[in-house]
């Protein structure tokens, strides 16, 4: 019987601690490798932690709201290799509270194969490779071949076959567990039973659980529409609200109470994890990164025309293409043209291993203001996306940022950020670099300006762009060339729809 400890993995580059928000699996649930088992709140987002093993959750070692650290043991998982025998015991509840008991009764019940079953169990628990049973589909060939190769473990694979409903006719005789038949059947049927086993998980009870668990839709929060709207307007996570309505429905009063409870108190306030992360990152930026700024105006006439044209032909329901999408595409192109800016600075300037690390592809952060802070989700490989796809990706990413549902990978790997305070923003502003990135573009409010073009007076929609650059990575000349090229793209007509 294999019992595996699951540990808290490192999430992100800078995670030091996190809070356990909730368990996604309960004791007794079957967990498949890769399936989320718990949810952590790190400094920047909510992260689902996936199980690295397949098996049954037998013990949760961390409490909700507990502060957790990398490497903390989170749970005990009873892996599946030998437990099919345990489940077959029938008398044992599926939610076996103790792996030891499961093993015992499993072995004890397999009276016909006798010691063979026990040794089968022993094989599984002692040899980690036989915890092939961890992953239901892949375990099949291995346990079958084990069965074929070692006569001692043959009954085990037989019993496995017997428990698989899909192979019923054949395994009936095998699973009948007459020892005389089992060894003969096992080698011959290895391949066949592999395919049979690849359909259902290894045990009856287990399979029901596994299917229930994998296919169960995420718990829907019962909430009245007006309460949902109020919660959204106030950035209130409905999962934190207790519903007092019929069947636990969250109602308006519940959300109002939760908002009241959340109202800021007077006096010094401890930092939220979000504010702490912003404070830490910006302090690093301001104290360790020498930065300079170059500015230039951009004329939006061409972008506006293109945007109107493209939005008129969007598929129904597709998100509208915004100026940000044009900016992202233009930045991607400029970054690939000026790879010197598409990189990050690593290490202390004095240290021998200090280096400038170029990026592959254009990974651009988009600064998103969220409740009480900001997030910079990274849109990866922007150079591969047309404007419509970019709009879709950007809209989805921003939406999830607002809901704190970003994946950790979406907060990493960028070299450049875009900060656009929108139509209600200031005429011009400057930003500071978001480490470890090396540049950030601040986009001022678009407004009609009188400009001289070819000696004539024109009114054009203009914005002021301010590019802040990590001086360790690039110098003023490169930055100004980059910015000029970026403006050229924005004022031109070469767009990838």
């Amino acid at each position: 019987m294999a019992r595996v400890a699951l540990e808290i993995p490192k999430v992100g580059l800078v995670m030091e601690q996190a809070r356990l928000v909730r368990w996604l699996k309960n004791v007794g649930d079957t967990v498949t490798q890769g399936e989320p088992i718990l949810e952590l709140e790190t400094e920047k987002s909510l992260v689902e932690i996936e199980s690295t093993e397949t098996g049954r959750l037998v013990e949760q070692l961390l409490a909700v709201d507990a502060e957790v650290h990398i490497g903390d043991q989170a749970a005990w998982l009873e892996t599946d290799a030998a437990s099919s025998a345990g489940v077959r015991a029938g008398s044992l509840p599926a939610a076996s509270p103790s792996a030891a008991r499961g093993a015992e009764s499993g072995a004890g019940n397999a009276s016909a194969p006798g010691g063979a079953a026990k040794s089968g169990g022993a094989t599984a628990s002692t040899a980690p490779s036989a915890s092939a049973g961890n992953a239901a589909p892949t375990s099949a060939p291995r346990s079958a071949s084990v069965g074929g190769a070692a006569p001692a473990s043959a009954p085990r694979s037989a019993s496995v076959g017997g428990a698989a409903p899909a192979s019923a006719p054949r395994s009936a005789s095998v699973g009948g567990a007459a020892p005389a038949i089992a060894p003969r059947a096992a080698p011959n049927e290895a391949a066949a039973s592999t395919s049979a086993r690849s359909i259902p998980p290894p045990s009856g009870t287990g399979s029901a659980n596994a299917r229930g668990a994998t296919n169960a839709p995420p718990t829907r929060i019962m909430c009245s529409p007006v309460a949902r709207r109020l919660a959204a307007q106030n950035g209130l996570d409905l999962r934190t609200v207790k519903g007092t309505g019929p069947r636990g429905r969250i109602q308006l009063a519940d959300v109002r109470h939760a908002i009241e409870a959340k109202a800021p108190a007077s006096g010094p306030q401890p930092l939220s994890s979000m504010r702490r992360a912003v404070a830490r990152s910006m302090t690093i930026s301001a104290t360790t990164i020498p930065q300079f700024i170059v500015s230039q105006s951009v004329d939006w006439t061409a972008v506006q025309a293109k945007r109107t044209e493209l939005n008129a032909h969007l598929q129904h329901g597709a998100p509208k293409i915004t100026v940000n999408d044009f900016l992202l595409q233009a930045i991607a192109r400029a970054l690939l043209t000026y790879p010197a800016l598409n990189s990050t600075f690593r290490g202390n300037p004095d240290s021998p291993d200090a280096a400038i690390v170029p990026a592959q592809g254009a990974h651009i952060g988009l600064v998103v203001a969220v409740e009480n802070g900001l997030l910079v989700p990274i849109l990866h490989d922007v150079q591969q996306l047309g404007l419509a796809d970019l709009a879709r990706r950007r809209a989805d990413t921003v939406d999830r940022a607002l809901k704190s549902r970003l994946k950790q990978a979406e907060l990493e790997g960028g070299t450049f950020s875009l900060s656009n305070l929108g139509a209600r923003g200031p005429d011009r502003f400057t930003a500071i670099v978001n480490p470890p990135q090396s540049a950030i573009l601040a986009v001022g409010r678009q407004r009609d300006c009188v400009v001289a073009i070819n000696g004539g007076i024109h009114v054009r929609p203009m914005s002021e762009l301010s590019l802040t650059v990590d001086h360790r990575v690039a110098d003023g000349r490169l930055a100004s060339e980059f910015l000029r090229y970026l403006v050229e793209i924005l004022e031109g007509n070469e767009w990838r729809a």
Binding site: S224, P225, V226, A227, R228, R229, T244, G245, P246, Q251
Partner: protein, 325 residues
């Protein structure tokens, strides 16, 4: 001095007959006062040409009135029971409601079909129905259902002055209701609901005789601290969604009460429109109170047991608010 619904309604007809020579009354026994005595004395005062008895044929009365209206008169006909409006449906639905549309606006049918509806005093299954929902399904008609003598006074006068056919539903149970006639009554516009009682926790939508019942229920709920806003729809077609929206946006909970069965009722239409137009305002499912889906029984005890009353509304409101007991 207070007057009954019947007396105040008679006064409205009397004044309209005096005000406009085009106004005529038609119906079974109307010259003799009609089955409920609403038109008593009007034939003597305005003449039997203008207050005219008809044969017992709802189809004929409606057809005659429609023709008269097309020719420039403003007939007010009386269909003794809405149960018998079935016999006038062809004319009402296929003719009266269609002329304005089919003539491209050249013709109009300014007539009022007064009819009596609802259960009162053991009139049994064929004389007690609330069939208003049938009529709100017909474009071209206007359906009005007053909730009190004074409401009826104003709404009837407004209806008579409309250019389109109006079904004017008088609840038999309201006929004995008394109110004092003020010196002047402002005529309510057709198509506007009224807030019969202001409140914050729940919007209770009612019409016709269910309005006084709803007000009683609101009073009882107020004693346990629940603030109910009662809307009197007054006009069922067209629905005043503006007033409904304003109220629902305030209370976020809706209870609709009518005497008609729920199935395909006016409440179903209101609930559907709230569901689609005001979804984000809702804090609880829109709930309805209506008659059980059976014919109205003859036995007064059974009739009483069947009709939705104050207790039904209070119970539904408490369930909706999650404050049982």
């Amino acid at each position: 001095m207070t007057q009954t619904f019947i007396e105040i309604l008679r006064r409205a007809l009397d004044e309209e007959l005096a005000r406009d020579k085009a106004v005529h009354l038609l119906g079974e026994d109307v010259a003799a006062g009609g089955a409920f005595g609403v038109t008593r004395g009007l034939a003597q005062k305005h003449g039997e040409t203008r207050v005219r008895n008809t044969p017992i044929s709802e189809a004929a009365i409606t057809g005659m009135a429609t023709g008269a209206a097309l020719c420039g008169l403003r007939p007010v006909l009386e269909i003794m029971f809405i149960d018998f409006a079935t016999l006038s449906l062809d004319c009402l639905v296929n003719q009266s409601a269609k002329y304005r549309y089919m003539s491209g606006g050249q013709l109009s049918v300014p007539m009022v079909v007064r009819t009596q509806a609802g259960a009162a005093g053991g009139a049994a299954a064929q004389h007690s129905q609330s069939l208003e929902a049938w009529f709100i399904h017909v474009p071209g008609l206007i359906v009005v259902a007053p909730s009190s003598p004074l409401e009826a006074y104003g709404l009837l006068k407004s209806a008579i002055r409309m250019e389109d056919p109006v079904l004017f539903i008088e609840h038999k149970r309201l006929y004995t209701m008394r109110q004092e006639m003020p010196a002047t009554v402002e005529l309510p516009p057709i198509g506007r609901a009224r807030v019969a009682r202001a409140g914050d926790d729940l919007t209770l939508i009612a019409y016709s005789a269910m309005v006084p019942t709803a007000l009683e229920a609101a009073e009882e709920l107020a004693r346990s601290g629940v603030s109910v806003e009662v809307l009197d729809l007054r006009t069922l077609l067209p629905l005043d969604m503006e007033t409904i929206a304003a109220s629902v946006s305030k209370t976020h909970r809706v209870l609709i009460a009518h005497e008609a069965v729920q199935n395909g009722g006016v409440g179903a239409e209101i609930a559907a429109r709230i569901g689609s137009e005001l979804f984000d305002e809702l804090d609880a499912p829109v709930t309805r109170v209506g008659c059980p889906f059976v014919p109205i029984p003859f036995a007064p005890e059974l009739e009483h047991a069947l009709l939705p009353g104050r207790e039904n509304i209070v119970r539904a409101a408490r369930e909706l608010l999650g404050t049982q007991g």
